[in-house]
Symmetry: C2
Subunit: 405 residues, 2 copies
């Protein structure tokens, strides 16, 4: 007998027929002798509809009240799921964020889970009740309803699994696992049987959209095994685990790309202590997150500084950087929105030399110029011209032996 | 400066434009120097839509989960109203049943309010915040969400007004007050300036659909002045108060009729102690509420017993009564679904003699046969053939001087 958390996304509970299908799937797990906690998203389209209603009233709706409004979507699905399970003869009980005591900070619309009280959930499970918990929502210390941001139900599920020490957290979604690359771009992409939390964390941050990145952070922190699988078939998906149990022996586990960033370059910056701090303090002050940063020292005590920011923050950033550049006596500020970041990720890189060199030469063979490079222990990212993103991804996928036979 | 509770029904908040209109009306009251608590229903149609979704799954949905599901309707309107008020520059805060601590019993889908904690509401009002509270919902001692049954938002509003000792509870609705009769049936019906809680209580029970009857019970119990008025114009509506302050000097305040009941007669029942108890215990056991009961003693120690039950319970009742009639040796069981109860109500009856006699003679003049009679201190009801309901209502309305000039 295992303790299993199952999370179903908005498409999987998109209408009454699908809700009943999910109920039957939950029952199958329950009948196999397991204790089951189900975490649900809102029905597909519902959250967007709620946001649209608010936007009819104002384009800057109060964020506390948006949490109040959006939390109703999940409340509806958990009630409907419990109704479906009860109608099929199974004891079940829905719980909202405040009832399961999913305590978060006070960050409106992107709250972070701080604590979950296992007791109310465990008490219900001890009575052989199937527990249905609203994803995406929590409650702050003052009793205000909070929401966790897009994809937050994944994080709810993993955090609940951690709190009740579940054996596995199954994430049912409309894809059937984690792939070596986006199959829409790379037709030969293969489904991975298994990846580590670390690799998944890098891949999520780099553009693989299977899981909300915070859910993977939680899974890593509390060592929760996560099973990403399809809600539309019975096949095994991808296990995301702490360390390579059955890990496939691949140097590179996946190739991802991301087109959300823009590049800013400040040329001929006087190479003095404190200069970089001035630039990045100014950017931080307007609330923009900087991703990659590269500094090349030139002759004559001058240096070029290049960094990337989200495309949506590009205009604000350029404005601020131009002011700072003037003050510090830099030559010019250049910007480029047509860039993409292509990354390869895998634990095997730790012990395999020459992976970076191989990546650079593959891109060179295709005539793709590399603008920026950044690396971690298990990842190498290159910024290239946006138009080459898909081509680069496919070439790297093939060259690192990821294509399916 | 007054403390005012304003309740707006589903039609008044039926779309985003109307929600903004209500927001402007709330602001007008606030700007006049009052403290305002707003209680809202779900947008028109939303509760029905939620019920329909559940009914796709099963025709007997779990009632706890129906409460969970239906409570989302009000949650959406309070959030949207707070968004509207904030967007217009006014501090406002929405509260759900659990946040305002609207404690109810555990009766699913028709819970009764037991207690409301004034403190969270008063604290917000003290900060000049407009407080928006979800009607229709509460929370039981175990933290389960409960709902109060159809029209429950009226009761929420009056109970909140009682808890915070509001000066008045304004019920904004799609009619502009309480009328001497249904204006759809009696074109000459007049709007009442003022009625007592007692009269309103009788009239609600007798078919006037302006307010949920439980809300009037609350208003009477805690002596809350209620102002029923239109949300679509600025006119004064009807004040419902404890005793005739400005009460109009009318013997009869209103004429109502109700077609929801059916009549059951058991003839030639042996007139022995305990016989009536056997009959009505059997009816109570199947969960049917009996309204009027009349017993006529005949000769030969035999009696006829007649009573009314809701039409929807008629078939079940007849079945049970026929069994009991056989056992107790009664002659026969007769039933009649084509009846209506016509009532006149007014505090003036207490001190005016001959009102009943006048009612009976008016009906007689029109050739309307009276089947059953029941009276209270401030009400007289006659059961007549269903087809005469409207005619009887109009005649009584004219004869008791209620027609407008």
């Amino acid at each position: 007998m295992s303790l299993i958390v199952q999370k179903y996304g908005g498409t999987s509970v998109g209408d009454m027929v699908r809700i009943q299908n999910v109920a039957r799937r939950v029952i199958k797990t329950y009948e196999a002798g397991h204790k089951v906690v189900v975490v649900l998203s809102a029905m597909a389209g519902v959250t967007d509809h709620l946001i649209q209603m608010a936007e009819v009233i104002t384009d800057r709706p109060n964020r506390r009240e948006m949490d109040m409004l959006m939390a109703t979507g999940e409340q509806q699905t958990v009630a409907l799921m419990a109704i479906a399970l009860e109608s099929m003869g199974y004891k079940s009980r829905s719980l909202l964020g405040f009832q399961a005591n999913i305590r978060t900070d006070e960050h409106r619309m992107s709250a972070k889970i701080q604590h979950i009280d296992a007791k109310p959930i465990m008490d219900l499970l001890a009575q052989n009740t199937i527990v249905i918990i609203a994803g995406f929502q929590g409650v702050d210390a003052m009793g205000n309803i909070t929401t966790l941001g897009r994809g937050g139900s994944d994080t709810s599920a993993v955090a609940i699994a951690a709190a009740i020490k579940a054996d596995v957290c199954e994430i049912f979604t409309d894809v059937d696992g984690v792939y070596t690359a986006d199959p829409g771009i790379v037709p030969k992409a293969r489904k991975l049987k298994c990846v580590t939390h670390d690799v998944m964390l890098e891949m999520s941050g780099l553009g693989a959209k299977v899981l909300q990145i915070r859910s993977v952070e939680f899974a890593k922190k509390f060592d929760v095994p996560v099973h990403v699988r399809s809600s539309f078939n019975e096949e095994e998906g991808t296990m995301i685990v702490g360390e390579d149990r059955d890990m496939e022996k691949m140097v590179v586990a996946g190739v991802t790309f991301k087109k959300d960033d823009a590049r800013v370059t400040i040329t001929k910056v006087p190479d003095q202590p404190g200069i970089a701090a001035r630039i990045f303090s100014a950017v931080a002050e307007i609330g923009v997150s900087v991703d990659m940063i590269i500094q090349n020292t030139r002759a004559e005590h001058l240096t070029d500084i290049t960094f990337t920011v989200p495309k949506t923050d590009y205009d604000r950033t350029m404005e601020v950087v131009q002011q700072v550049a003037g003050k510090i006596g830099a030559q010019s500020v250049l910007g480029d929105k047509d860039i993409a970041k292509v990354s390869i990720t895998g634990v095997g890189m730790k012990t395999n030399h020459g992976v970076a060199a191989k990546m650079f030469s593959i891109l060179a063979q295709e005539g793709i110029n590399i603008m920026m490079i950044s690396t971690s222990e298990i990842r190498i990212s290159c910024v290239v011209e946006e138009k080459y993103a898909e081509l680069a991804t496919r070439c790297l996928h093939t060259a690192f032996g990821l294509d399916k036979e």
